[in-house]
């Protein structure tokens, strides 16, 4: 199973757009992303479809 850290690479690299469509991240992934969003100031578009 993939580490949630892999979803957050974009945050670490200062991405402006992050599209995780169909990645099956589930609630745990969403929570991890929410935590990253709390301190993020660069991401403008987030796709979690």
């Amino acid at each position: 199973m993939a580490s949630f850290a892999s979803y957050l690479v974009g945050f670490q690299e200062g991405a402006v757009v992050l599209d995780l469509e169909g990645e099956g991240i589930g609630d745990d992934g969403a929570v991890a992303i929410a935590e990253a969003l709390a301190t993020n100031t660069t991401l403008t578009r987030l796709g979690l479809r």
Binding site: A2, S6, Y7, V9, V16, V17, L20, E21, G22, E23, G24, I25, G26, D27, D28, G29, A30, V31, I33, A34, E35, L37, A38, N40, T41, T42, L43, T44, R45, L46, G47, L48, R49
Partner: protein, 479 residues
Amino acid sequence: MIPIFHSRENGITDTGAAALARVLQSNTSLRYLDLQDNELTDVGAVAMAQGLAGPEGALKTLQLGYNDISVEGAAALLARCHHSPNPNPENDGPLPCSLTSLDLQFNELGPGVADVVVAALRGRGGPLADNSSSSSSSTTGSTTSSTTSNAVPPAGLTTLGLLQTGLGSSGAAVVAEALRTNTVLRSLDLGSNEIGDEGAAALARALQPQQEAGKLASEADDSGNNPSKSALAHLFLFDNGIEEAGAAALASLLTHNEQLTFLDLEENDALDDDDNLEVAASMALIEAGLQRNRKAKINQAAKAIADADAAAAQSAASAAPETVDSSAAASAATTAARASAAVPPCSNAIKLNFEGDGLGDEGAILLLNVLLEAPKSSTTAGVLLPELEVVLDDCGITEAGALRLAECCEAQPRMTQLSLKFNPIFKQSAANFDEGDEDEVGIEESGDVAKGGNGASTSPAAERIETALANNREARSRE
């Protein structure tokens, strides 16, 4: 490397949605959040509604389609999107949120969603809030506006998606009445809602402009409603079972309505009957009305540019020193002031927004002629003229039209931004791409990237546009 799970959706439930909602108020950069096709229920929708920041928040677009949200969840969300910038302080409800676009498509909301849409359009608990005197510097609706960095946008949704939500004809009639007094909502998707001729006619009546509806109101409107002053420009009535009577009502609307520039009537099978002359005549009138309104909007752009240039000149004149002191110190200060006044630090741009107006290549060429007629020098009589920023997203522009726009960007140095997202620019050369069905080109908001939706090769037109805009911005920075 992000792993691939081969799962269409992300499986996010109310728990994940609540976690995301909790950071929305503190996050200052996220403008677009897509949570479509997950497992959100009303609990998640309410959490999102509670998490939305006030009118100065970052988030502008929220996509919640294809979830399990009912009318209760929609009510919570829309209650935060009301068009009331100055709510009654005695009302303990929350301020309007920052959202300007909300999509709830393919959630089973039912006809009851009409009432919550009406409440949002009319403002919380009272009559419609008129945003026409808000801090927005818009001069011609949303066609043009000077970009001012600290302006607080008017509250309320400009785009609402209710595709296949079970609205029905009765719900459409209720929403229609609210549209009469809507001054904010510009795009409404009511596709696949079985509104039929009855719903189409209700919408047509409600969107009649003041002078025409005034005649009707004086004769027969016993509901107390005012004639329409609706700002609605894009109406999607895809797949609604609309037939001859509905088409006739919409044709009558387009004879007088000057706001609508896009009306989607695809997949209403009866309207494709070429043997029905009544339907054909109505469809021709509808198309003629839309074309007329698009041309009028393009003409407004010419006036907006002229007005902005004149305002810049006037601003520079008023900033120039009125008297000259002969002392050495004052002379130096005056010289500096003159230099500053000669080319004032004008950061404003004039933004011409035609998103979703369906201009096509023909309209794009009309527009570029307007752009080329504007003064091409960045300064005139010592005045730095505003930059020209053009939005042509989702306008049906092909590679041929984009090539003409590239020529415009190369010939008009004041052009610094051109957005062409969601246009079929790649279709004509799609055979050259291994990726196949590329049908969109997105020039990112920064104006620095011109890519297809799958990261495919850029089109020749997009590359030329990108190069020209970069050159123009660089030249501008040296002014």
